[in-house]
Amino acid sequence: MSGTQLPFEHKMSAHCETGTLSSQLAFHGMELSEALIFGIGSGIFFGYFNNKRFAFPTFIVRSKPGQIRKNLTKRLGIKFETEKFKTPQQAQEKLDALLAKGIPPATQVDFFFMDYLPQYLRVHINVHFINVVGKSEGGDYLISDCYYPKIVELAKESLQKGRFAGGSMAPEGFLFYPTFIPKEFDFEKAVRKGIKKACFNMLKIPIPFLGIKGMRKFANHITEWPKLAIDAEDLSHQVSKINILLEDQGTGGAGFRFMYATFLKQAAEILKQPELVDFSKRMMDNGDKWREISLMAARMGRNRDLSVEKLREVGALIHERANVEERFFKELAKVVK
């Protein structure tokens, strides 16, 4: 069997979902930056989870996977064909058929099975998105992963396992590609809606661990962590993970706050509201403070400096961020009305 590779332009990006969307749209002839996709899709968020579904308390800094794509459909009218499969065979047949037609679909996988990534990154997270852009001569797949510098080959067994890993948010072979891109867009309306929804998500969801409330819950609960850890080394690992979740898991730094600042600067031009430039600067400063927290966590983990007082100090800093972001989103909601 001879190999095929579609003329897909590989681009590294900060985040897998927005990066994949951006390069999918680019393949179909529409240039839309990652930051703009993130903003219009209301990607910014916060949530703190402390329940049986997680081995240790954890937090998220972005909205539910897939939501950004759905929001793009709602706000810009871009239509995507999406499909889930019952069996791996069906999923592979469909993938092969699409590639034969010249369509490189994006697919959802478990991070763990992406053999080309370094081992320290490969954990079981079911919400990674990659583009499949062709097949090699040996029948393996060519992958454009925005965390990897170039297009890379992945064994078909690994792709299969990644697409059909079970567990929470199981991918079930999910794949998508754009089928319709409108000729004209009402960017102003879309950006306005994206910001409004982000403000709503951060401030008004009536669930005590989502949005700003989640931040406060995190800040209060972090002092309990020593009781939940297996031993001191495990606690150190969990505290270091604060840094990994905020900086390393495709957030563009400081838990997407820098990416959102970039979006707000672009939004100021699109909405012709120069006061948003000021908001963008404030978000950048807010991101810097988040980064200070994550660097502090990394150093605490490294030095095994894990006393309850120190954790309380981190909690106080997170409380401060919650206050700042609460004020920020309240004021932002008024400006974009």
């Binding site: 590294m12 990006s13 900060a14 990652e34 930051a35 049986k52 579904r53 997680f54 081995a55 240790f56 763990f112 099975f113 370094p118 081992q119 320290y120 490969r122 954990v123 079981h124 925005c146 510098p149 396992k161 890993a165 079970g166 567990g167 929470s168 199981a170 297996i230 031993d231 080394e233 495990d234 150190s236 690992h237 270091s240 840094n243 990994i244 900086e247 390393d248 563009g252 730094g253 400081a254 820098f258 990416m259 600042a261 970039t262 600067k265 963008s280 950048m284 991101g287 810097d288 980064r291 994550s294 660097l295 990394a298 983990g301 490294r302």
Partner: protein, 170 residues
Amino acid sequence: MKEEDLISDYKVQKYILYAEKNDGSYGTVEGGSYIIENDLDDFWHKKNHLEKSLRERLLNNEITPIYYFMVLEEMTVSELASRAGIAKCRVKQHLKPGKFATARVGDLQKYAGAFNVPVANFFQMVLTSNDQNSKYHFYHQEEAAKDRYSIAQTATANAVVILTKVEEKA
């Protein structure tokens, strides 16, 4: 974040980050990760410490192989049950040393799929000369390079049999 504050001389991994560029505009820049560039050895150390303490308990028959892998991969019972396709109450049984022997080979194959290890590795620890589980996913790469022997496991047409080959490195 300012562009000049980034780790620009990254050696291990390149990331795309967002920052205030030197010309004052906001956008993407290339940089390295603080943890990966500075603390990767500590990361391995912690992972190996966890592996060793679990291994000790496993060898003393305090935990089962399923528990060993579940904790190492940071899974919960419900996550593992869903990934392996085994009922939660059965998984709970398989975590008790007294009840592990009631597990069927078919169950073990399902667990093996979820952990991405051969079934045989539930019944053996393949240790290297520097006392590490050579077949654990988070095995220290630099330590592995120091080892005199390489241990390769290859799947066979028989789903429950694996070929384990120990070879002296050239």
